[in-house]
Symmetry: C2
Subunit: 132 residues, 2 copies
């Protein structure tokens, strides 16, 4: 079975890290998934993943259906997390632009992986007798 092989490799990868490092990394992953698991975060990042242009508050507010309250919160979380850069121009009317950081760009391929997984597998949310 090459499941075992993959597992082996994962294990090796993992053991190359010192226990302290390993914990730090695992905490990071948890923190990341914690963030990604919040409402709209993925949808938000998807917008940025496929946009060439920086995006503005009201653009996002429209294209996703999300209350300004929550949008504001999510955006600042993502900025704090270092996944988005926020640039505000002091004009009238005010203009604020968000763009993904390199760190976020590095993350997008990982989404690709999840995306690929999702093409073939789904979580069984609907208890019908459909898959496999």
């Amino acid at each position: 079975m090459d499941e075992s092989l993959e597992k082996e490799e994962a294990r090796k990868q993992r053991e190359q890290l010192s226990p302290a490092e390993r914990e730090r990394v695992e905490d990071r992953v948890s923190a990341l998934l914690d963030l990604l698991g919040k409402a709209h975060t993925m949808a938000l990042l998807r917008e940025f993943a496929f946009a060439e242009e920086p995006l503005r508050f009201s653009e996002l507010e429209e294209s996703l259906e999300i209350s300004p309250n929550t949008l504001s919160l999510r955006l600042s979380e993502l900025v704090d997390a270092g996944l988005l850069d926020r640039e505000s121009y002091d004009e009238i009317p005010p203009r604020v632009e968000y763009r993904p950081t390199e760190r976020a760009e590095d993350l997008f391929p990982a989404f690709g992986h999840l995306h690929r997984w999702a093409v073939e597998h789904a979580l069984e949310v609907s208890p019908k007798s459909e898959q496999e």
Copy 2:
């Protein structure tokens, strides 16, 4: 720039899917991250990712610090999602074993990707005056 290249590829990948399919896939990813973002879920799956043996309720209850209530909930969510199989043996004392499904095994490499990302990048949880 090969960021653009990656983005290009992602875009292509994405456009090969019909709009309907695309939405289904994106919903799946969201559902997945929704689940993974919940408390303890990642820690739980990590246990299974590195275990050769099936795991039992009380093992998990100890190795992670999690109330039986929540553990039970998470486990059944994962079972419902088709990521874990639950096998209960009618013995005395009762024995229940959980093991990852193939679908979960297919997911673990994606974790590897996130793991690798986390080795080099962290979310900036400690924001001081270090940017700009």
